[in-house]
Amino acid sequence: MGDVTLEHVSKHYDDVTAVDDMNLDIDDGEFICLVGPSGCGKSTTMEMIAGLTIPSEGKMFIGDREVTNLPPKDRGVAMVFQNIALFPHMDVYDNISFGLRLRNYDKEEIERRVERAAEIVQLQGMLERMPDEMSGGQRQRVAIARAIVRNPGVFLMDEPLANLDAKLRVHMRTELQRLHKELDTTIIYVTHDQAEAMTMSDRIAVIDSGQLQQIDPPLVCYNEPANLFVAGFIGSPSMNFLDGEVAADGFSSTNIDVEFDPADLGVEPGTDVTMGIRPEDVYLVDEESLVSNPSHRIDAVTDVLEPMGDEIFVYLKLSESAETDLEDTSGVANDQLLMSVAPDTDIAEDEDVTVVLDRSRVHLFDTATGEAISHGIETPVQTSGAPGTEAESDD
C-alpha cells in the first residue's frame, strides 16, 4: 500500500536537470532518508512523489497503482514542505486540521487529533495564533503537525526539523519514529542532519546532481560507501581522502602508505586510487592498543584544534609545507589529515604527534570513476567494526 517506486524518473527544467534517471524502490513501511548536497534534487523528487511536479520522463507507482499522472489528492500522501507554507489566513488550529476538514471528519475527531498533534510538536496553547505571530521553529512545527494529523500511506518530509533546536529535534525525532512504527506508513524524509539520517532511517538514499548514488542502511552508507561522493558526503567532519596509486605492496601516496595485497582486492598495481579514512579512525599512537589492525605510524604536526565539547578535531600537517585550509571541503588533500580525539586528550597546537590509521577502516576508491574498491583491509571480518553488524545483517 505504501511502497513507492520510481522507474527511470527524470525532471528537466529549462536548462537544469533536477532529477536524472532516478530509480527508487521503497518498501511499504520503510523510513527512507534522502540526503545530498543542496540543489541535488531531493525536493524535486519529493514533489514528484507528491504529484506536485510531473516527471519529464519515467513512471511512478505508489502501492500497485501507477500514479505518474494522478493528482496529488489521490495519492494518499502527506507532506511537510521545505518552505513550510502555512496558510496565512488560518490560525494554527485551522492549519493543522486542514486535511481533516477536507475529509469531513467530525468535529470531536478533528479536535482530538489536532490536540494530539499539537502535543507532539509541543505547540499546546498556541492553537489560536496566526502564522505570522509565531517564530520560525513554531511555524515549522505547525507544518509538521499539519502532516501528522493525517494517516496517509506515505509521509513526505522535506527538512522538517531544520529550524528546531537540538533538544526539540531529538524529541521530534523520537516522535516521528514512534509515529512511523504506530502507523506503519512509509516515510520519505529529507534532512541535512547526519545524526537524523543515521538514527532514523531504515535506508539512506544519497543523491548527487539528480542521480542516486547509493541507497542502503545508514551504517552501510557510513562504513561501505559506494563511491567517493558518498564517502565524502556521509559523516561529519568528512572522511580524509588521499590520492595515490596501488603499489605492489599496497597503497602508496606522498605522505602515507598503507599495506595490502592488491591481489586480495582485485586491483592492478599502478591504478590510481584514492584512500579514505574517517577522522575517528585516526588514532594517536598512545591509543594504538585500541586498534586491532593499525597501519604504519605516521609522523605529523598538529595544526588547528577545534574543540567541540564532546570531542576535539585536530588538523594534522603531514608535511612542512602543508597549510590547514579549513575552507577546502573537496576532501582530497594529500598532506593533511583530520582526526578526532577525546575532549580530555592532552594535545596542543603545533605539537609533533605520531598517529596510526585503523586499517580495517581504510577505504579505497578508484580515482578515475570514484567507485569503491574496498572497505577495510586485511581483517578477518571483511568490513566494519562491531556495533554496526546487526544493522548490516538485514541488508
Binding site: 507528491a50 493528482p71 496529488p72 489528492k73 514542505f81 496558510f87 486542514f98 499539519r146 493525517r150 513526505l156
Partner: protein
C-alpha cells in the same frame, strides 16, 4: 571582499548628505503616525481641493432655493427645506419621477416600485452587482487558468469594460430597437425574448423591461471590472499554498473554498464595494438606452434637475444619494472593519 573593507557602508553613508539626504532622514525619523499622515498628504490635498471643497460648496447650494429666472444661480436661503421637500414628496414635481416609493400597509407594501427613483436604483444595484460578481468570478476563474491563447481570451473578456458608455448604450439600444435589432419583434412576429415573455415589443419605453435590459447591458460591460479585480487577487496568492492543499487532498472545489476564496475575499469586497457605489450612481447607460424618464435612477434625478437647472434641488438630491449609498455600502464597511480598519 578583503580589499575594500573600509570602503564599506560607513563611507557610503557619509557620502550621502545635502538637503535631499536630510529630507530623507527626516522622513525616516518620523513616527509611524506622522509618516502615515505625511504620505497621505498629497492624496488628501488633491481630494481636498478637487473633491471636498466642491462638495462643501455644493452642500451649501443644497441649502438654497432653486432660482430659474434672473442672474442669480440660487434663490434665498431655505435651510433644510429642500431636504424636507424631497423626503415628503413635495419636490416630486421637479423630478423625473418620485423619489421615495409610496408605501401601503398591504402587500407588496410599495405601490410604485418603478416610479420611485430609490426603488429603481436599488433594484438595479442588487441585480447588477449580484450578477456581475458571479459572472466576474467565473471569468476570473477561467482567466486564472493556464491555457493556450489565454491572453486573447483575457482581452476578450476585459474589453467590454473599455467600451464607452455611449457606445454600450448604442449597441444595446439598437439590438432592442424594433425594426433594427433582431432581439425584439412585433406583436405579430415576436422575437425569442418576446416569446419567452422576458420583454415586450417596445421594451425600451417600459420601465420594467428597460431596467432588465439595462441590467443585462451593465452586466455585460462591468463584469469585466469584477473579473479584473478578482483575477488580480487570485494572481497574488502564493502558489505554494495550493501545493500544500493539493497534497492535503483538497479537490479543486475545496482549494477554491478554503484557499482561493478567503484570500481573494478582500479584493472581492473592494470590487463589490465600488461596484455597488457606482451602480447606485448609474446614469449613463440609462440615458443612452432608455432615458431618465423611463428608468429614473437617483443620478437621473440629479442630472435632470441639474440641467433644468434647479441647482438647489440637484445639490440636495446629490447629497441624499450619497447618504443612501453610505447606508447601502455600510454592509461592506462592517465587513472591512471586522478585518482591518
Amino acid at each position: 571582499m578583503a580589499t575594500e573593507q573600509q570602503s564599506g557602508e560607513a563611507l557610503s553613508e557619509s557620502r550621502r548628505s545635502g538637503p535631499y539626504a536630510s529630507a530623507v532622514n527626516w522622513v525616516e525619523a518620523l513616527s509611524e503616525t506622522q509618516f502615515a499622515y505625511l504620505l497621505l498628504t498629497p492624496a488628501l490635498i488633491l481630494l481636498g481641493v478637487i473633491a471636498i471643497y466642491p462638495l462643501a460648496s455644493t452642500f451649501s447650494m443644497s441649502l438654497y432655493a432653486d432660482q430659474l429666472t434672473g442672474s442669480a444661480r440660487l434663490g434665498e436661503f431655505v435651510g433644510l427645506q429642500n431636504y424636507i421637500d424631497l423626503f415628503t414628496g413635495a419636490r416630486n414635481y421637479a423630478l423625473p419621477s418620485a423619489f421615495l416609493p409610496t408605501f401601503t400597509s398591504e402587500f407588496p407594501f410599495v405601490t410604485n416600485i418603478y416610479g420611485s427613483a430609490l426603488m429603481v436604483t436599488l433594484i438595479f444595484t442588487v441585480f447588477s452587482v449580484l450578477f456581475e460578481t458571479l459572472i466576474g468570478f467565473g471569468q476570473a476563474l477561467i482567466l486564472d487558468q493556464d491555457f493556450r491563447g489565454r491572453r486573447w481570451v483575457r482581452v476578450a473578456i476585459i474589453i467590454p469594460w473599455a467600451v464607452p458608455i455611449v457606445i454600450q448604450g448604442m449597441i444595446w439600444y439598437l439590438m432592442f430597437q424594433p425594426n433594427i435589432g433582431f432581439l425584439v419583434g412585433t406583436t405579430e412576429n415576436p422575437a425569442l425574448l418576446n416569446q419567452l415573455g422576458l420583454i415586450g415589443t417596445t421594451p425600451l419605453r417600459n420601465t420594467a423591461d428597460s431596467l432588465f435590459l439595462i441590467i443585462v447591458a451593465d452586466v455585460w460591460k462591468t463584469s469585466a471590472f469584477m473579473a479584473l479585480l478578482i483575477l488580480a487577487g487570485m494572481q497574488s496568492i502564493d502558489r505554494s499554498l495550493y501545493d500544500v492543499a493539493k497534497v492535503a487532498g483538497a479537490s479543486r472545489w475545496q482549494q477554491f473554498k478554503m484557499i482561493t476564496f478567503p484570500l481573494i475575499l478582500p479584493s472581492v469586497l473592494v470590487a463589490m464595494l465600488f461596484r455597488t457605489i457606482s451602480a447606485m450612481r448609474v446614469y449613463g447607460i440609462i440615458e443612452t438606452m432608455a432615458g431618465c424618464q423611463t428608468v429614473p435612477s437617483l443620478s437621473c434625478l440629479v442630472v435632470t434637475t441639474f440641467n433644468a437647472p434647479l441647482y438647489g434641488t440637484s445639490a440636495t438630491v446629490a447629497f441624499v444619494t450619497a447618504g443612501i449609498i453610505a447606508i447601502v455600502v455600510s454592509v461592506y464597511i462592517v465587513n472591512f472593519a471586522s478585518e482591518d480598519l
